[in-house]
Amino acid sequence: MLKTNTVRWWIWLMYGGLIIYAIVTFIPFLWALSASFKPLSEISASGGNFIPQEFTLENYKAIFAQEPLFGRWLFNSAIVAIFVTLFNLLFNSMAGYALARIQFPGNRLFFFLVLAVLVVPAQITLLPKFLILKFLGWLNSYQGLVVPTVVNATFIFMMRQFFVNFPKELEEAAQLDGLNRFETFFQIVLPLAKPALAAQTIFIFMSSWNDFLLPLVVMSNPEMFTLPIGLNAFKGQYITYWNYIMAASMVFTLPALIIYAFFNRYFIQGVTFTGGKS
């Protein structure tokens, strides 16, 4: 795109900006990483240095070894996040596609309702949600965490906005070939929506992985805790144990980061409609 020498300065400026912004985003993460290897006394006393004066693995040992249920919590978090992500990808895309592409009575009303449920703060729906889950007998169970979150209004909305842009020609061609809506959706539309699906995967996985409020009230049995709830015990009533929290959040961040790095490749230009033109 930018081949001429006259715009070379522009490239340098761009790199400069990117690198500065990368540093701004990187420093806090690096600092948290280094803090996870420090004893609490060092974090509290100074905090500013990047290289731990007193390097220690105690924080990690404390959360892995001393907490007998850690493995169980990790498993719970993973199971819930994986199922929630898979269902969301399917259901949100279907609903988003219907709202963007299919003419049916109430189409606009549904779109409006999807927006409407978004504006109610989660703190407010928590109590009725809890009572419904209790009525269903789903407290302290995986379905209690999974089922209410298998559909996400935000991402129905997002998928709709993506599908609105899709070229209609492909679907029309598919219909001429005798494919019905379902076949068109699964065989033609979904494979082309990879970038949007990748973005959705990252967000859904992260929000399920980090979810705090719902598991906090739904899970009262320690064996059913997810990681954020279990690790919350390290946040003391009077004193916050930053050393444990830093170590825990590193353990915690890693899976989300790996998922992101993995799906990142779908954002690399070249996966376009015209079929792999790069």
Partner: protein, 416 residues
């Protein structure tokens, strides 16, 4: 023969009951206990005490749950959903509203004379009473005392910690130091926490009161302002005091540990933290300096309470009884984060003769309990909101307190 029949019945009845009992023995009941923990070690200690309880009561299993965030929100949600734990922690501050709503089991009928209820510090026990019914057994308590940095006092040539508030302000002036003369103060004399839970005793120092008989806010009186004015003056006029954020600390205790403030009023819970986290810090404690020639401080207490909906009330009481018995309390109080609520245990563990803990023990006799009616949450929000603003100099204290009281009382009025 005639005699045989009744005795046969008796015997068979006996068998029946024995049969019942052995049946219940084989199936242990499970009760849940919810609370928070100040640190992971505290949790382990409580688990030990619970294991001991279980070996003594083989037919009871205890499930312990830790809720460290939004504790009361979770408990209330579960109470509304009727799936709340059998036994749980309750702060004195939250007690009046919860007792009034009728979700707690009155404990009078369970308490036997051997339990020695009058061994508990009465001010703590009263926090969980309503109409002569006891709704909670205090598990421990904390008070505030003056922490001072011995090294800082020594290098400022101060031999004795202050005994009165005037002395405190003088001492704070000497302890406020700008070492490198760059205009930024390196050590403040005093660390301040501006929230109502820490300041209520200042309102009372000159005879003010927090609420009136109908639970409306009443702190905006000349007497109430006089005490609070001392805090504002020290912060704004003397400039010898700092809040944690002023010196870049996460908490008041941390600011003291880092040496950014040389003195502060803090709770006994800070003692293990400071010893652990700042091993080089040399500090000592003393009673809160007298104001208006009177002693004053804050008292905070937490009780075990029983859920009225509990299906295992007998077992739940056994657990509460064990945890708050002399031996249970002793095991629990070893950690030094909080003080035992039984006088006998307090004396036996020699907290009153330990120089670092004794000022806190003394405070229990004259302190102000952190509790008022059910309207307290509204009052706290309103007070905190405006008092900080007076601290920052956005408005004079009388104006700020007037606003705080009016806002709180209007909200209380509208919600009735």
């Amino acid at each position: 023969m005639r005699k045989l029949i009744p005795s046969a019945i008796t015997i068979s009845l006996l068998f029946f009951t024995v049969g019942c009992r052995s049946d219940s023995n084989s199936k242990p009941v499970e009760i849940t206990l919810s609370g928070w923990q100040s640190n992971p070690n505290e949790g382990k200690l409580l688990d030990q005490v619970i294991r001991e309880f279980e070996t003594k009561n083989l037919n009871i299993k205890v499930k312990r749950e830790v809720i460290n965030s939004q504790y009361m929100d979770v408990i209330r949600t579960r109470l509304i959903g009727e799936v709340a734990p059998d036994v749980f922690y309750l702060e004195a501050f939250e007690a009046p509203a919860l007792i009034k709503s009728g979700v707690l089991e009155p404990l009078n009928s369970y308490i036997k004379p051997e339990f020695k209820l009058n061994d508990f510090e009465s001010s703590l026990l009263n926090a969980f009473k309503r109409n002569n019914s006891v709704y909670g057994i205090p598990k421990d308590f904390s008070t505030l005392a003056l922490f001072y940095n011995q090294t800082a006092l020594k290098s400022a040539g101060i031999a004795q910690p202050p005994k009165t508030w005037d002395e405190l302000r003088q001492t704070a002036k000497k302890l406020t130091i700008d070492e490198n003369k760059d205009g930024k103060i390196d050590q403040y004399g005093m660390g301040i926490v501006s929230e109502l839970p820490r300041q209520t005793f200042m309102i009372k120092a000159f005879g003010g009161k927090l609420v009136d008989q109908t639970d409306y806010a009443a702190f905006d009186s000349p007497e109430g302002l006089q005490g609070l004015q001392l805090v504002i003056e020290q912060y704004r006029r003397d400039r010898t005091a700092a809040q944690a954020t002023d010196v870049g600390a996460n908490s008041n205790s941390e600011a003291f540990g880092q040496g950014r403030v040389a003195m502060t009023l803090d709770g006994n819970w800070a003692i293990p933290y400071l010893k652990e986290t700042f091993p080089n810090l040399k500090f000592q404690t003393t009673e809160v300096p007298k104001i208006n020639d009177r002693q004053g401080t804050m008292i905070y207490t937490v009780a075990y309470v029983m859920n009225r909906q509990s299906k295992q009330k007998a077992a739940a009481w056994k657990l509460i009884e064990f945890l708050t018995s002399e031996s249970g309390m002793k095991a629990w109080a070893k950690q030094g984060v909080t003080l035992p609520s039984r006088r006998s245990v307090l004396a036996e563990m020699k907290y009153d003769r330990n120089p670092i803990y004794s000022p806190f023990v003394a405070g229990a006799k004259y302190g102000t309990l952190w509790q008022a009616g059910e309207t307290l949450p509204t009052i706290v929000t309103s007070f905190d909101n405006q008092f900080v603003s007076a601290m920052l100099g956005q408005q004079p204290l009388p104006e700020a307190m007037k606003r705080a009281q009016n806002t709180a009382n209007r909200e209380i009025y509208l919600s009735k």
